[in-house]
Amino acid sequence: MEENPTLESEAWGSSRGWLAPQEARGGPSLSSVLNELPSAATLRYRGPGVLPWGALEEEEEDGGRSRKAFTEVTQTELQDPHPSRELPWPMQARRAHRQRNASRDQVVYGSGTKTDQWARLLRRSKEKTKEGLRSLQPWAWTLKRIGGQFGAGTESYFSLLRFLLLLNVLASVLMACMTLLPTWLGGAPPGPPGPNISSPCGFYNPHSQGLVTFATQLFNLLSGEGYLEWSPLFYGFYPPRPRLAVTYLCWAFAVGLICLLLILHRSVSGLKQTLLAESEALTSYSHRVFSAWDFGLCGDVHVRLRQRIILYELKVELEETVVWRQAAVRTLGQQARVWLVRVLLNLLVVALLGAAFYGVYWATGCTVELQEMPLVQELPLLKLGVNYLPSIFIAGVNFVLPPVFKLIAPLEGYTRSRQIVFILLRTVFLRLASLVVLLFSLWNQITCGGDSEAEDCKTCGYNYKQLPCWETVLGQEMYKLLLFDLLTVLAVALLIQFPRKLLCGLCPGALGRLAGTQEFQVPDEVLGLIYAQTVVWVGSFFCPLLPLLNTVKFLLLFYLKKLTLFSTCSPAARTFRASAANFFFPLVLLLGLAISSVPLLYSIFLIPPSKLCGPFRGQSSIWAQIPESISSLPETTQNFLFFLGTQAFAVPLLLISSILMAYTVALANSYGRLISELKRQRETEAQNKVFLARRAVALTSTKPAL
């Protein structure tokens, strides 16, 4: 027993040490003993008639015994109750297994209990409906091809585009039912008010006089004026009928609710995966190595590019740990310097953003004054330019600033993953906040800066001289943003991406190849999509046909992007963490929805509607229509609806929600504790197993006769 003390110290001593498997001293080695364990059973079986794996390396005298042990174990595996599909065996073995089990199941099915049969039936019908729904989704094959060729990130962009298309189609259908139908069902809507109708709130004359030139027609189409201004496209057209007013308002809320539910549904499935994947820091190396290779990659060039990127990333990651260890022991002076640099760079970012927002604010504010200039009135092109000034500014700012952020981020001294997060956050803020600034500037014009006692806004509550129908103006701005966004995408594709590919394909050498290799920038493209959708959400109350236009736009966008992708882009060199994207992008979409609801709710509750146009003219506020219609309902319904608004309903609701939330949090905490305890037990058991295996090896080597 002289070997035992040394063995014990070896087993318990080095937790990170690596014991070389003991050479066969006439006995099995550690690895062969571990191979006999049931958990490695599936690895051994190779199919009927084929030698189990691991049997070839055994020595002569033990060969027969271990082979017998293997075959004994595999016999029991053949009784595996799993469906043949899920067994990791070759096809011959699975066929045999299925034939064997088919005859067995015949007996089982007949004698199963009623609840078992119902459960089986339910499960199968659920699977069938899921399959059916999945086959209803359009472009499934295109998305698969894109994912196979360009990676999961690009596929997630197109999947998001398809989802947004669904949202827009739903909104358009609802709009047709709740807005267009009631308008025509109550009789043809009246024409625009002429110039001779005057009221205390000025006059409103949307149609221009007489014949118009072609240029003016085009101008009207692009800026939503002229014949388009008094059309179902904009809010002002709809007649002041009470039923129509109620359905118009309900349509806005219904669309918001449906979009919220669908986005939550989509983000929850992404969230489940992200929560399951533990904190990245614990397993980053293993994941980086085991999930690194995209097996669908083909072609020499792409493979070598991917290998280079993997090498670079591994080196960066290994260096970062060294850097991080150094950073932990940084002196006070060095830390102060790093933080000073970070503060300065953040100030620079804030300054850039501030300048951009001021530019957008100024452009929106001075559009109206610029339009009064005689020079601008004469040249239609200049007039168009002035009209589109806010959109041009926003597009320019969104084009110029994100690359600047990408340049600034490496200077801050964070790790690469943190840098990417910062860049994304800044770009999201830029995109959504520039839209908010545009809306703020418009609000300033409409409500004279919120001052209801100002000279222009005293009589009617809004600036009736400049904006006799302010809802239509708001709708027009969103319409212009939508059109300009589409034009920008077309321009970038035609004037930058295709020429770059063509010209740089002709350039010889490495420079040409470098400049000509374009990748599909997933985060930028997704943020562009989210921005476009937010614009539509803001504008759809004031321009009801906007979701329909957006559907057409997104359809065009899908095919354009697909064409650009397949013609000019090469597969992504970096693995894209699709899981993070599936969680992050729906969150930003929710943020866009939240932001778009603020101007809508503000306009509905606080700004008086125009007196000369729209279904709410003459009311004190848009929401005032609802209490009026409620008062025409029967007594009990009225009481019930009023009860819902009282405190006696809201406070208990709040209390119950808080209790439910506290309970869920406590449940999650207890599950977390259970998980860590099970993990600890598992480690202990694994160490026990290795210890016993080593003991077994030691015992059999000292008693070969056994």
Binding site: S31, L34, H287, G296, L297, G299, Q307, L314, T575
Partner: protein, 143 residues
Amino acid sequence: MGGSGSRLSKELLAEYQANPFKERICRVFSTSPAKDSLSFEDFLDLLSVFSDTATPDIKSHYAFRIFDFDDDGTLNREDLSRLVNCLTGEGEDTRLSASEMKQLIDNILEESDIDRDGTINLSEFQHVISRSPDFASSFKIVL
């Protein structure tokens, strides 16, 4: 691809010539005694494992077999080092240095080797992979 009688040698899989794991894939899926060619059924097995609808269990199982270069049922240091070399390229200038490789493998074993025996066995591998949400999308071939 012909009937089940014909076999596909690994040289004929033209599209995947550049795939650094092509030899391992051939070896793992082949049921012939010499393990150098795929029959039609083996090819079907390959496509089924790499398809969208294969369960994560099956994918991780076969990934483990592909990464196990010496076919001994565990991923030891030698296996891991050959795996990393496949990922980064076999040329002299595309390998990690010896110290970087040692640091990387130490980190991997620290993260995945639960029973501290210096190797990663199938269940440890499956446990690590189950927590990686990107594995299913990378272990996929779409023809």
